[in-house]
Amino acid sequence: MNKGTSLNNDASENMRRSDEPIWWGLFSAGGVCFAVFVPAAILFIALLIPAGIVGPDALRFERAHSMVFSLPGLIFIGMVICLPLFHAAHRIRHGLHDLKLGTEHLNKVATYGGAALLSVLALVGFAIGIL
């Protein structure tokens, strides 16, 4: 009955292994990317270039096209879009738990499902671009 006290480490329901290592691994990898790569990406793509501090030619069509649809572009999509998406999904899921919103299962499906969907979208976009 008392779940916390079962001293026999059997394979019963309350001793089930959590699948959290998978999500925590993605969260950690995404957290490193968010801390190390994303600041530079925001600074140039969303601040310096749109504000005109760095010349507008930096992101002119042909240049952006050849930069994104290349191997470095794929690495960029993985490190600056996909992994940070899973980092965000993990924090949003636990944040919902902290705020006592939703249910554990529903939150998991919505957050990780959303991150997976957007990641696939990014990779499909990349695939269309290089073909």
Partner: protein, 246 residues
């Protein structure tokens, strides 16, 4: 001598009052007056009905934990001189309150027992040889690996600091997971295999979100948050090993 206003949360169910209420006391104090001294003053001089736990007065026994202005503290280790304005004293958060400042630590003790926080080593159980009376040997370097996590005095402050334990009392919690990690790191111990299933659970290491407040309030600087999160690395490794072994 100056006085300090103490607001103490009272709860006296045996008098038919099933809701807690605040009661104010003015306490004379100087630089050496601890919160525990103040509680003793209340009980001896002002209101003998006040109930609270205490013993050693020197941050060893771990029994005088209370919330001081919403932060878990050992009463003997906090001093009135450090607080501006009135001081609010309440029972440790996230535990059932039995009376006044007395909580029921049963859940915490259950969680401690669940991780088997003691040396598990069958090699010294053989009594028919001289080996059975030999002591364990350990180098200073081997001891260094777990020493930081061995300072726990089971005061429970980290459980009151942990919102994840507050949200889900089934979470094994900081102290229990820290002790599990402490024994897993001990070169004399062979019990890791028995402890990992508890740590691998959703309510094991994986309920922790590294809020980190447990480590802030720990009176012995054990850093339970670090231990729990090192436990996550161990649990992730354990899962990988399980996958490769099939």
């Amino acid at each position: 001598m100056t006085t300090k206003r103490l607001s103490i949360q009272r709860y006296l169910p045996e008098q038919g009052n099933n809701t807690p209420y605040w009661q104010d006391f003015d306490i004379p104090f100087d630089d050496s007056t601890s919160v525990l001294d103040a509680l003793n003053y209340v009980k001896e001089e002002l209101d003998g009905s006040l109930s609270y736990r205490w013993s050693c007065r020197m941050a060893i026994c771990g029994s005088c934990g209370v919330m001081v202005n919403n932060t878990p503290k050992l009463g003997c280790q906090s001093f009135l001189r450090d607080y501006e304005g009135p001081v609010k004293i309440a029972p440790l958060a996230h535990f059932p309150v039995e009376k006044d400042l007395i909580i029921d630590m049963g859940l915490f003790l259950d969680h401690l027992a669940a991780v088997q926080p003691y040396l598990i080593n069958d090699s010294r159980l053989i009594n028919d040889s001289e080996e059975g009376t030999e002591t364990f040997k350990q180098t200073p370097a081997q001891m260094e690996k777990y020493k930081q996590f061995a300072g726990c005095i089971n005061c429970g402050l980290c459980y009151s600091a942990c919102p994840q334990f507050g949200l889900n009392p089934e979470f094994l919690g900081p102290a229990a997971l820290t002790l599990a990690h402490r024994y897993n790191l001990d070169s004399r111990d062979q019990g890791k295999k028995q402890r990992m299933p508890q740590m691998n659970r959703e309510e094991g290491v994986w309920s922790c979100t590294f809020v980190g407040f447990c480590s802030e309030v720990c009176p012995k600087n054990v850093d339970p948050a670090a231990a729990v999160n090192q436990g996550k690395v161990e649990s992730a490794k354990d899962m990988l090993i399980g996958i490769f072994k099939g």
